[in-house]
């Protein structure tokens, strides 16, 4: 087992992975510098991609890392979005406060619903989460006094960074705020994945019974990851409202959840950077390409679903040549009990 690692390490430093870091650096520089040379429209699209990418990454923590295929994750995105919009209207327009509250409410909602879903597995988990997403959408539709019903909440007040600061309305400035929050979320998610908790989640995904036999509380792990993912989804929902200053039941609904799940599949389960690339592909296909060919967004999206399933069985991340990826991890446990 150690031999594999020793062979890999020199190769790592012999220049194989340096280009990846260069590419990453290039992407970061491009993202930071984007507002200087682009139209407000482009900046807005990239900002939405970043936000949706964060949401997809939070779902990927559930689907790709923990092996919990949720079809209702849009509920927590939507709950975060509504929480941020209501907070902005009635309490405070301070962005970080909205993020904190939206994240906390998203996590709490995920925890409460998780108490029901953690008892199920496989296809039953898929359907229960689908039901939760649907209840959330109907709630958004019918609780008119709070959510504005089918019209949603429009004209959400613009972002403030501090209670004493002015309103931020310039597209480039909002974009930088979104970029900073997304980068922070990306970093936090990377930490969660690499942590002992993240490793335990992967163990649960690969062999739930063995993790239980090893003394892990599988239901505890499931509940914990649902709460964490719900929190990140809530934060992403809050960022979404900060940019669009509008939220409607459609943001909560099945379409949001299904599209995010499509992104996870396109990205390749468990790939953090892939989540953002997939979000870019899907947002561009749905919002840009769809309008170009005459409001046929759903058609193109459906074809994308079909193509992704057939052509990208391991997602975009699977397309990266295997020499650039990490060596396969040795099997869990050395006792050879398998």
């Amino acid at each position: 087992m150690p031999r594999g690692r020793q062979v890999k390490l020199p190769r790592l430093f012999a220049g194989r992975s340096v280009p990846i870091y260069l590419v990453a650096l290039g992407v970061v520089v491009w993202l930071v510098a984007l507002p200087f040379g682009s139209s407000g429209y482009t900046v807005g699209v990239v900002g939405r991609i970043l936000t949706f990418g964060l949401f997809v990454a939070s779902l990927d923590l559930l689907v790709g890392i923990a092996g919990l295929p949720s079809l209702g994750h849009g509920a927590f995105f939507g709950i975060g979005a509504y929480a941020a919009a209501l907070l902005a209207q009635d309490v405070t327009a301070v962005g970080p406060a909205q993020l904190a509250v939206a994240g906390a409410i998203g996590a709490a909602a995920a925890g409460v619903t998780g108490l029901v879903t953690i008892r199920s597995r496989g296809i039953y988990f898929v359907m229960l989460t689908l039901a939760i997403g649907e209840v959330a959408r109907q709630l958004a539709d019918s609780w008119t006094s709070l959510t504005g019903g089918a019209n949603g909440l429009a004209g959400v007040p613009p972002l403030q960074l501090f209670p004493w600061g002015g309103e931020i309305v310039i597209a480039g400035h909002i974009y930088w705020y979104v970029l900073a929050v997304t980068a922070l979320g990306y970093g936090l998610l990377a930490v969660v994945r690499a942590s002992a908790f993240g490793q335990a989640l992967k163990g649960m995904r690969d062999n739930e019974d063995r993790m239980r036999a090893l003394g892990y509380s599988v239901t505890g792990l499931k509940l914990a990851v649902l709460v964490v993912a719900g929190g990140f989804a809530g934060v992403a929902g809050s960022l979404w409202v900060t940019q669009l200053r509008f939220v409607s039941p459609a943001d909560v609904g099945f379409a949001t959840s299904a599209i995010a799940l499509l992104c996870v599949v396109i990205a390749g389960r468990g790939s953090l950077w892939g989540s953002f690339v997939a979000a870019a592909v899907v947002i561009v296909v749905r919002d840009e390409l769809g309008t170009v060919i005459g409001g046929r967004g759903p058609l193109v999206l459906g074809l994308t679903f079909i193509a992704a399933v057939y052509l990208l069985p391991r997602g975009l991340a699977g397309l990266v040549p295997s020499v650039l990826r990490q060596p396969p991890k040795p099997a869990l446990g050395t006792g050879g009990a398998q």
Binding site: P69, S120, V265, G302, V309, P313
Partner: protein, 289 residues
């Protein structure tokens, strides 16, 4: 009690009629999952195909046109089932999620095609049996006929699955497909057969349901959701479970909404959550998928 019963008789009958429709839709979904291990999210599209067949051939309420629509829908649904067997075949051994996404993609494409061919507007269909009987101040004959057809259908499917050789093969495949294949049975035939019959039933349900629900492009999502709930409540792969779940959801959607209109959105999924918490594999389910 009798007073309450007579006061709500119309709602209860409506619930039974809806339950019969849901059974025809859900039993295919359930068998396809049990036999092929495929979660077919395009099942609602087959229902919509049937609904549009009824609208094109029998929107004026002619009985002959309606019969023609049933035959045509069975053919369309069977062909759709065969196509879906072929489409999902390469995904065997991959996760349910991939199948769900593929069939969801197919459903999106079909919805768009239906919309571009027939327009966005919903279309009504007149029932082929006009008139009403004296129950609760006039109850449409068509719905009573629907209940009769649904009961006959449930009986026929149950007999076919429980008492015939083909049904025994289907049940064996639900239990252990590998073992059935090892016994020398061509499981590909069983698989395509289940998908074809399930698809035909879904499309026929679309025709039968057209006088109640009409035909509209986005009907597929509504009925699919109901069918999924029915299947989950009943237990995947079980015919009697599908019947029980369908009748239960029919009442929840009809009587429940009549008695507690404000809580209506939650009744459906509340019922499902309660059943799953108490019996995680559904009312009649034996295995934990």
């Amino acid at each position: 009690m009798t007073e309450w019963l007579s006061g709500n008789l119309v709602s209860i009958l409506n619930g039974v009629a809806l339950g019969c429709l849901l059974f025809a839709l859900a039993v295919g979904l359930s068998l396809v999952f049990g036999v092929l291990d495929v979660l077919n999210l395009a099942h609602g599209s087959l229902f919509v195909a049937g609904a549009y067949a009824a609208w094109r051939l029998a929107d004026d309420g002619s009985l002959a046109g309606f019969g023609l629509a049933v035959v045509l829908a069975a053919a369309i649904g069977g062909a759709g089932g065969l196509l879906l067997t072929v489409a999902t075949r390469p995904l065997a051994g991959r996760s349910h999620l991939d199948q769900a996404l593929l069939t969801l993609g197919i459903a999106l494409v079909v919805t768009e095609l239906v919309q571009s061919w027939f327009g966005r507007d919903p279309h009504g269909v007149l029932p082929p049996l006009a008139g009403s009987v004296e129950i609760g101040g006039g109850y449409p004959i068509y719905r009573l006929a629907l209940i009769a057809v649904g009961v006959a259908l449930a009986f026929a499917v149950d007999r076919a699955v429980e008492r015939t050789r083909a049904g025994a093969l289907v049940r064996a495949t639900v239990c252990d497909a590998d073992m059935v294949a090892a016994m020398g049975v061509n499981t590909l035939l069983v698989r395509s057969g289940a998908f074809i019959v399930g698809g035909a039933l879904a499309s026929v349900a679309g025709v039968l349901g057209a006088p109640l629900l009409g035909a509209s492009p986005h009907l597929d999502a509504q009925v699919l959701l109901l069918a999924l709930v029915v299947v989950v409540i009943g237990g995947l792969g079980s015919v009697r479970g599908a019947l029980l779940g369908a009748l239960l959801i029919g009442q929840v959607q009809s009587l429940g909404v009549a008695l507690a209109p404000r809580q209506a959105p939650f009744l459906l999924f509340g019922a499902m959550a309660i059943v799953l918490v108490l019996r995680p594999a559904g009312l009649m389910g034996t295995r934990h998928a």
